[in-house]
């Protein structure tokens, strides 16, 4: 599969089959990265495309790069993307209205033209045979050994500068996302005072004060006779299901007096009639 022949022009049938199947998947993934409305879906499509590309690297004999692609790209970079999407992009929906008129069609036209140019350029190049990596890999005993011998000899300065770049990027990310504290940090005393201010510290009083009505939806009475809402549980308070019975017995007494008065009054009338 890695092209052990010196100068072949055809790969194996298995690799061709793999290319056509996975290449379709890669193109579909790339298209849905561009066309999906939500950033999360775009990120997942891109992760799929990157995994397919990792398989292609392996098929092309770049074993080290294939593994690094999965570990670094789909493992680290895409998860960083998803993290930022969760932090930022989920609520920020992409506005679908065009701010520049016809910009999308122009952009699509430019893309198609560019693609045609690229593909025509590749088609015109005379790339009919390929050497394969067999000899290059075998020279130092394997793909990873070959890469290592190149990195630490020919490309050692680029490698060192890459290290400087990574350190700079790390510091840059820390500086960019750092936020200065604009107000003084609260002391422990202030926090503890804040925690108990404006709250009922002892247990809440029990509901109901009458022997006949000690149900949970009946508030207890304060010393001056007004009902206290604290004695009824929060849920019933929010639903407005508090029954106020503080005036019930007084009302009953009043009704009793009225009825007896009416009765007495009628009796008086009867007496008057009898007279």
């Amino acid at each position: 599969m890695t092209g052990l022949a010196a100068a072949a022009s055809q790969t194996s049938t298995g690799e061709a089959f793999q290319f056509w199947v996975l290449g379709t998947v890669a193109v579909i993934g790339a298209l849905s990265t561009v066309l999906m409305k939500k950033a999360v879906h775009s990120a997942l499509s891109l992760a799929g495309t990157m995994i397919v590309l990792a398989v292609f690297y392996l098929a092309n004999g770049a074993y080290f790069l294939g593994v690094v692609q999965i570990v670094v790209y789909t493992g680290a970079i895409m998860m960083l993307f998803l993290f930022v999407v969760m932090l930022v992009g989920v609520t920020a929906a992409d506005s679908l209205k065009e701010t520049l008129k016809g910009q999308r069609w122009l952009a699509a036209g430019c893309g198609i033209g560019f693609g045609v140019l690229l593909i025509a350029g590749i088609g015109n190049a005379s790339l009919n045979s390929f050497n394969g990596l067999g000899t290059a890999n075998a020279e130092h005993g394997g793909n990873i050994e070959g890469l290592a011998s190149l990195i630490f000899t020919k490309y050692v300065f680029a490698f060192e500068i890459t290290g400087a770049l990574l350190i700079t990027a790390t510091v840059g990310a820390m500086v960019l996302t750092h936020r200065e504290r604009t107000e003084r940090a609260k002391t422990q005393r202030e926090m503890s005072e804040e925690r108990v201010r404006g709250k009922q510290l002892p247990p809440l009083p029990a509901p109901g004060v009458y022997a006949r009505h000690n149900a949970v939806d009946i508030p207890g009475l304060l010393p001056d006779g007004t009902p206290s809402e604290l004695t009824v549980m929060q849920t019933l308070r929010n639903r407005g299901q508090i029954r106020d019975v503080s005036n019930e017995s007084l009302d009953q007494l009043k009704a009793l007096e009225q009825r007896s008065e009416e009765r007495l009054g009628r009796d008086n009338e009867d007496e008057e009639v009898a007279k």
Binding site: A26, A108, T135
Partner: protein
């Protein structure tokens, strides 16, 4: 099949990524499209490495990956800080330098 097909695929993916950069407004999606273009370049490098039978193409692809990782870290940090100050990740809203 000739390995040139990998180059065609890389060109196609690069084109899709470039069109996405032009079309999309969400800064994160634009950034993902840039990543797609970088990946397409990597695929082309690896394929050229196989065609010419030396490992230099793979080395370049490896350095591209490192640079892409650094770029993603800084770029996402910029997006997060822009989102903090403007409450939007749309590239249309970041027009502070416009007159």
């Amino acid at each position: 099949m000739n390995p040139v097909n990998y180059l065609y695929l890389a060109a196609l993916l690069f084109t899709i990524g470039a069109a996405g950069v032009l079309i999309r407004r969400n800064a994160i999606v634009v950034f993902m499209c840039v990543e797609l273009m970088l990946n397409a370049c990597n695929l082309a490098f690896v394929t050229f490495s196989r065609m010419h039978g030396n490992l230099d193409g793979q080395i370049i692809a490896f350095f591209t990956m490192v640079v892409a990782a650094a770029e993603v870290v800084v770029g996402l940090a910029i997006i997060v800080s822009v989102f903090r100050s403007r409450h939007s990740a749309s590239v249309d809203d970041a027009s502070l330098m416009k007159l």
